[in-house]
């Protein structure tokens, strides 16, 4: 019988093959070859694309280069969403590798945050973890950690060190057994069809009557449109890490096992493929 620990590994070591091509709008000295890379689903675009940048800079003049950003079929890709979320949201059910355009000019100020260095990503990542722990444990666990422990979480993500990361992160996933789960589940629901960036509300893993609440309960309450009645055809896919968990999966289990390293459960609701 497979073990829950294996889920954590699968989640961590999830990779998306990507093909980076330089946008035709960019001016180059010579033809730019596409660049192929396996992107970790749980990491951030700007954190793992140093090689991409280096590759394309070789064919560009320094004066043409501003801040690098990415776009997929016209949609600028928000670097502060985990890569897996971006893929699930915009490109699931498409052919692999994922074709991403690279831009060095005309930064879409309205759509994207600037990311001038890795410390910006680190700050974003750590603030997410802190926010998640505020929901889960009233920040008690994260505040009990030392500076070096925080660093260990970040370094674990940055260097793709599963053991290093989880040696610390498991403390964030603990909860008192008598309570049956976290105080609130840190989650975000993303929809392509909505103007809102995402849905995030307070949601407890256990009902007042003591039942474990499920993914279905969560969606019913916060995103009823994503669930369809049994008789009608499926209109939406509910994706987490590229898979569609059954609606009866307890959210507490999902939060413990399918959260991203930022400790949030990122759920993508996307239109079901028509065929």
């Amino acid at each position: 019988m497979a073990d829950d620990k294996d889920v954590l590994r699968d989640v961590w070591f999830g990779r998306i093959p990507a093909c980076f091509t330089l946008s035709p709008e960019e001016t180059t000295e010579r033809e730019a070859e596409p660049y192929y890379l396996l992107l970790p689903r749980v990491s951030y675009l700007t954190l793992v694309t140093d090689k991409v940048k280096k590759h394309f800079l070789k064919v560009m003049k320094a004066e043409d280069v501003e801040e690098m950003w990415f776009e997929y079929e016209g949609t600028p890709l928000k670097w502060h969403y985990p890569i897996g979320v971006l893929f699930d949201l915009h490109a699931s059910n498409t052919a692999l590798p994922w074709s991403v355009s690279v831009h060095f000019k005309s930064f879409p100020e309205h759509d994207l945050l600037h990311c001038t260095s890795n410390s910006v990503i680190e700050a974003h990542f750590m603030s997410s973890i802190k926010e998640a722990d505020a929901l889960k444990h009233k920040s008690q666990v994260i505040n009990d950690m030392q500076k070096k422990d925080h660093k260990q979480l970040w370094m674990g993500l940055q260097n793709d060190k599963f053991d290093q990361f989880w040696a610390m992160n498991r403390k964030l996933m603990e909860y008192p057994t008598e309570e049956g789960g976290f105080r609130y589940i840190p989650f975000r629901i993303y929809q392509t069809t909505s103007d809102r960036p995402f849905i995030q509300k307070l949601f407890r893993p256990v009902s007042a009557e003591g039942h474990a609440l499920t993914l279905g309960d969560l969606l019913k309450e916060l995103c009823p449109a994503s669930i369809c009645a049994e008789d009608e055809p499926k209109r939406f896919q509910v994706m987490v890490h590229g898979i569609e968990p059954l609606l009866e999966t307890p959210v507490q289990w999902l939060s413990e096992h399918l959260s991203h390293p930022d400790n949030f459960l990122h759920i993508s609701v996307i239109p079901a493929p028509s065929d």
Partner: protein, 1198 residues
Amino acid sequence: MPSSLLWAVDVYGRVYSLSTAGQQWEYCRDAHLEFKRITAVQQCCWSIACDHNIYLNVHASDVPIRYQEETYENQRWNPVDGFSDRLLPSDRWQWSDVSGLKHQPLGDFQLPSDNWEWEADWYVDENFGGENTEKAGWTYAIDFPATYTKDKKWNSCVRRRRWLRYRRYKAQETWVKIPSEQTESLPDPFNDITCGGWEITEEPRGCLALWAVSLQGKVWFRCDINHHNPEGSFWEEVPVPGEVVQISCGPGDLVWAVLWEGNLMVREGIGRDCLNGSSWVTVESPSPEAGAVHVAVGVNVVWAVTKDHKVWFRRGVNSHNPCGSGWIGMVGEMVMINVGLNDQVWGIGFEDRAVYFRQGVTASELSGKAWKVVSVPRDSDRSHSSASASSLQSAGCFFGGEVRLESQASVLSDADPETEKAVGGVVPTPEMGDSPKPRIPKVTSDSFISELVSDREGQISRRDVPPAGPSIPEEDHPEKEVEDRASPAQVLSPSQSGGLNPQWSNVDLEEAQTHLSPGPGVDAAETCSLSSVATYNLALEEPYGPDEHPKWAWVSGGGCLVDCHLQLNWFHSSTSTALNSSMQAMSLSITPAQTAAWRKQIFEQLSERSKREMENFMHYEQAIEQSVWVKKGTMQWWRDWKPHKWVDVQFALEQFSGAEGNKDGILFIYYTFNDEKKYLHVFINEVTILVPVLNDSKHTFAIYTAERTKQRWPIRLAAATELEMYDWLALLSVSCCDSRGVQGPPSKQAIWSVTCKGDIFVSEPTKELEASPYPTPCDQMFWRQVGGHLRVIESNSLGVVWGIGYDHTAWVHTGGYGGGFFQGMTGSTDNIYTQTDLKSVYIYENQRWNPVSGYTNRGLPTDRYMWSDASGLKECTKNNTKPPSPHWTWVSDWTVDYAVAGGTDREGWQYAADFPASYHGYKTLKDFVRRRRWARKCKLTTTGPWQEVPPIALSDITILPCGPKSTVEQVPLWAISNKGDVLCRLGVTSLTPGGSSWLHVGTDQPFKSISIGGVHQVWAIAKDGSAFYRGSVSAQNLAGDCWYHIPSPTGQKLKQVSVGRTSVYTVDENGNLWYRHGVTPSYPQGSSWEHISNNVRKVSVGPLDQVWIIADKVQGSHSLSCGTVCRRLGVLPMEPEGHSWDYGIGGGWDHITVRGNATEAPRILMPSLTDNGSNRTATRSPLQTSDRPEMNGNPVGC
């Protein structure tokens, strides 16, 4: 932890049991009688039934209770007849006991009671001191009494032989009446009973103390109850200064009794020589106003109930001060209290007659925290087909008897209401009948009597209500109804005391009336049938109606083991709080998560996703380059050069990605030498094992590589705290496993070993491990630790793995990995359970004789410490001796240990001429010193992938190495119980490795080692050191048919055996390893023993006939190690004895099993190279036989 049972009697006299693992009361279907008292211990229940007889229910066990009867046939030689039974007039009897003093022909042996049966007829014992006499069992001597020999000599004038016959106790799982031996004219039936005392002595085995109180207030003690005599022999009256109403006996030497007038008495002088004590000491009742009516004692606790139902706890009670120091009033109103194992407490509430459990009772807080009601339903389908006739009769006896006796009692007492009240253990207040609260029928206990009394005053006439049988609401069988209800009428009608109807209605349930539509007011006999029909219908409508408020009369937890690790499911019910129910809901939804569809779905989808998104793109570059990760710390290091000492070092682990994506690392130890900074490094992929070495002073662990194993000199490191040590160990373990690509549970082929600290290690064999002629040297094997604590471990190639703890508990591997310190990310949580182990720590009290004061603790200046370890070199006092490591905690006090080799006197002393010398158990004139051993038990609690296999304690175990390939076919598994019984486990398959039950295989003497090899060859070693072969064992006949005696090698007592595919190896008590020659399919017993090696502690022969041993001493280049894993080299089909040894991990190893490893390496035949192979190993140091001073080779310590 295995489940155990709590026993209780309800107010109708029915006996129920509740399992610690269960959630409902199970009706004891065998109880044809109604009972009023029950007292349970782990192996049996004693009870008093309504007929005032005492009954015993011995719980069934896979090992039968059998007793060996023996007698000797004696003969003398004369020139005419040769040897004949014509003896000299001065000689002993022709048939006698071993001493010759008692005449006992075969025909004189009778079964002690109807509950015994003979196993077979008499037969001659051919075995003489481990050898076969081969002369029909005759042994010869010059004359009686003399030394007998196996061989007949010229001067052998007499001979004798031993006849044996076994009898077996057959009355198990049934209530057996213990015949009463009333000799006096007045009947004085028993009124209370209590069983305990099993901790007082271990000799004889299963010794129990049973105390009973008669209605006249006399106290009786049942003598000679032990394993071989479960019923005991006779009652002995224990004089008491007053009239006793109730008595309680704890597991140890604590016995308290309640006197008629409300004071208590404590028995003193109880010990192993005097189980029933010598004198009584009086203790005042807890409350001056209300006398005590009930007392319950455990090991170190006394609880009492006074007449006003108040509960009291006695402070300061222990073995040295059985009277304690003072009473503390507790919350709650109880009618009775019972103390079970671990001093856990149960009570029956006064208001609701529910069973209560005292929560939070621990060794440090014996009084517990709160009463918690045990609210579980009773099993509702009660078929009464078996309970018909006798229940009619006994129910009659019951009601009739009680009533008659009451009239007696009230005549004896002087009708004073106060005295009347004191009649019962529990006395209802006179107003109770008028109070609005629901009346509770008290039928079973004495309270019934007092209620009759109180009722008779004013109630009876009023309560002339339509009758209903006591058990109506729960009955679903109309015929039984009639019987039940008819019976009281039948018996009561002749009884003249009190009149028919009043008593009838007294037995009545007001409670029941609410369920019943009142029947027409006709006379009893008719009503019965009518209302029973009505009840029948009602029962259909409300099948669980009566279970909501079961009323209990008596509870006994003497066989019920509850401790802080046990999750009891007794407290969930409709009445529990919202919080409780929510917890229940959570636990219900989380536990099945392991098998839930959503979980499976996630697993499947994740692996699909990985395939979809990654499979075709693995040639893509990884976005994140693997970089080095460093963890640093400070530690102490046992430095390599002399003088050896702990030095402070910096410790760092650098991890990086190795070639094929797997991780690797280097360990650095930075130290200063002559003010110069230096370092030592170890490649993680070269580490072969990490061994935690816990002792009471330092938290250390040892790191071995193949090179360090050769040197017998590991890197020893000490962390500042235990936590830090385990952090490092966990991290290093993960790193080592990662670098070698070892993950998940051990494979079926795994080689398991155990250190002398009980730590468990497992190694994955490679194909090359048993390759010939170039096997992988076994010092290169990589071992990883598995959680748990064991003394013995055995496996087979189907992945069935069993272990035995230090306390002889049997454990089966759950297939999981992790536990122990491998928590969190380094192990799995699946199939990991709590595991406990128990062992004794021994210290010695030494004394020297002087002419003035005799033996005193004043020794000579040159003497050993007056309190020391076994060697006398280390001072070990009661106070300064700590448990072996922080994982162990004391669970008992120091007690004198009488079970010491050589025997002891009554106070446990062993005498000798001087220290150190050989000790004997009696004093002679030449003995100037004496010593005695003190033992203290300690307990370890850990976690690991092990589940207990109750209830039989084992000392050895073996599993057929290469079993059937299918997962449903039975895997033969044999074991030896810690009492020496041979057992065969039924129902073991690779899917159900725990099996189902034990089959007992009879032997003429206790056994100590067993092994099953290819084609079901079973070999065993008896306690006398001889070997036995079991004939006709096959897949169809798992237990075989008879034992063939195999003489041991001359002058040697064998102690262990291991059988591989065809090879049979044994180890004797002097450390010699023997190979059995001439074992062939047609003659599986073989012909002779060949000496292979000395210095061997244990042997394990695998399914490839590979031979592995634990060697006593192995010399390395730096040090010597004791307890080392070694493998026999050069073992070939035609040369199964091999030629030399290859040395692996050690020292400190205690046990190894290679019986799972059936991975055969492809054989390469290179005859010219075999010589080289042996040369290479020959250059290694051979097994050392000389005692060289041992330096540091045993980090684990032996």
